[in-house]
């Protein structure tokens, strides 16, 4: 099917996918405020270019493509301002009560998320789309305009990068899993 959907349907689709879009943006940027700005930008572009969605792909894919483009614009502005993207301290919840192990586990979860959001942009996009958004490799390749082999290679580098960063947390984890 290759025809423009009606506006009412389009509006409903946008609102339905808004929480998922925001979650995706948070995973990419690592920052709640930046994610909101990225999604705000994406909504503007979606509003202007809504006739470009012709139902050829899933709406989520189309919307996430826009978010990826806005994310890249966001990164290039940050690069030009010489700042690094990462989880700011206010986004981390501080829990002063609760069992120590539970708190350590929560801190580790947040640390892993922070490291993912600090990966080089391309590796970050591939890892988030495949591991956390559960996109199939073919769709990731289409979204990122790469070949499937490139996607696999980039994912491998991303995992190796994280393995290196999280090495000191891996050994106790792997011992617990045994």
């Amino acid at each position: 099917m290759s025809q423009v959907v009606d506006r009412t349907t389009f509006d409903r689709l946008v609102l339905e996918h808004l929480p998922a879009a925001q979650t995706f943006a948070i995973r990419l940027t690592g920052d709640v405020h930046s994610a909101e700005d990225v999604v705000q930008d994406a909504l503007l572009r979606a509003h202007r270019g809504w006739t470009g969605f012709r139902g050829q792909s899933k709406f989520k894919t189309w919307l996430f493509q826009i978010i990826l483009n806005c994310f890249r614009d966001h990164l290039s502005k940050l690069a030009s301002a010489r700042s690094t993207a990462g989880l700011p301290t206010e986004s981390l919840e501080s829990h002063e009560s609760g069992p120590r192990l539970e708190a350590q586990s929560r801190e580790l979860s947040e640390l892993i998320a922070a490291e993912v959001s600090k990966l080089p942009a391309r590796q970050r996009e591939v890892l988030v789309l495949m591991t956390y958004e559960q996109f199939p490799i073919a769709q990731v390749a289409q979204l990122l305009e790469m070949t499937e082999q490139n996607v696999r290679t980039t994912l491998h580098y991303a995992r190796e990068h994280l393995r290196e960063k999280l090495a000191r947390h891996l050994e106790p984890q792997s011992k617990r899993h045994e």
Partner: protein, 279 residues
């Protein structure tokens, strides 16, 4: 997920799967939903109205040019607000150039402001008068923007809550804004309402602040943006403001890497809001 799906599950996958990012707040989702609804609802009213407005502007401009070319107007008495230089504390960062649409939105707003009389609305800021140079040398009379003699300042204090609820309601918004014009609520009270738990009241307070305007208010709003305090609402107030300082700040913000996304989206919504008021 492994990078090679045919291989057995790697324990590292469990570690990756345990990653937890902060959840989007309900307020944040509501703001985005509200932004989307503002974009979509107004869209249907704008297209035909814009064509009609454009045609009307062309006709009026033609008639005005014809009249002024044959009958040059007498130099009007104007009360001007002395421009106060504002040092913007927000760091100026380079970002991408404005797109043609963004440039046209900004230009349209600035052009509209430049076409309005210098005192488009009553203001509580100090006013300096300029003596007109005309051969008749008429006496200087302090006048309101509507060219009526200034009324004594005996208007009763406005009920802020009533005023904001009028502004929050689309059908009574213009009435609420007239209330602000006639009897501006205290700026401190309105700034406090920018943090109200209800979205419509926050928006109403922002619109009221934009209406009140003034260099001191503009500076406070800019500081709030810099301090990330009710940033979005402060942006809406600045975008609604007609002062040169506020517009200069908004233009700078569109070029800032930190603020450009928010600034552009707020300007776009403000333009739609303004068109709706004109209708």
């Amino acid at each position: 997920m492994n990078d090679r799906p045919d291989q057995p599950r790697d324990p590292f996958d469990d570690l990756l799967a345990s990653a937890r990012w902060p959840e989007p707040s309900r307020e944040s989702i509501k703001r985005l939903e509200s932004s989307w609804r503002s974009l979509t609802v107004r869209r249907w009213r704008i297209a035909p109205a814009m064509m009609t407005a454009a045609a009307a502007i062309v006709i009026v401009a033609g008639v005005w040019m014809f009249l002024t070319s044959s009958h040059p107007p007498a130099a009007p008495l104007v009360a001007v607000i002395a421009p106060t230089p504002v040092s913007l504390d927000v760091p100026r960062l380079r970002g991408r150039a404005l797109t043609s649409l963004e440039r046209s939105i900004l230009s349209a707003q600035i052009l509209k402001e430049s076409r309005k009389p210098a005192t488009a609305k009553a203001t509580t800021e100090p006013v300096t008068q300029a003596r007109a140079t005309s051969s008749a040398n008429p006496p200087i009379v302090e006048k309101t923007p509507e060219n009526k003699p200034r009324q004594p300042l005996a208007a009763p204090a406005v009920d802020i809550q009533l005023c904001l609820e009028r502004i929050a309601n689309e059908s009574t918004r213009s009435e609420g804004l007239v209330m602000v014009d006639r009897s501006p609520p205290p700026t401190d009270a309105l700034i406090g309402r920018l943090a109200d738990p209800r979205t419509e009241i926050r928006l109403a307070a922002a619109l009221a602040l934009g209406r009140i305007d003034g260099p001191a208010t503009t500076r406070r709003l800019i500081q709030m943006v810099a301090d990330n305090q009710c940033r979005r609402e402060a942006f809406i107030a600045l975008a609604s403001s007609r002062s040169k300082e506020a517009q200069a700040f908004m233009q700078q913000a569109t070029q800032s890497s930190r603020l450009s996304g928010l600034a552009r989206s707020t300007l776009a919504m403000s333009e739609i809001q303004h068109n709706n008021e004109v209708q």
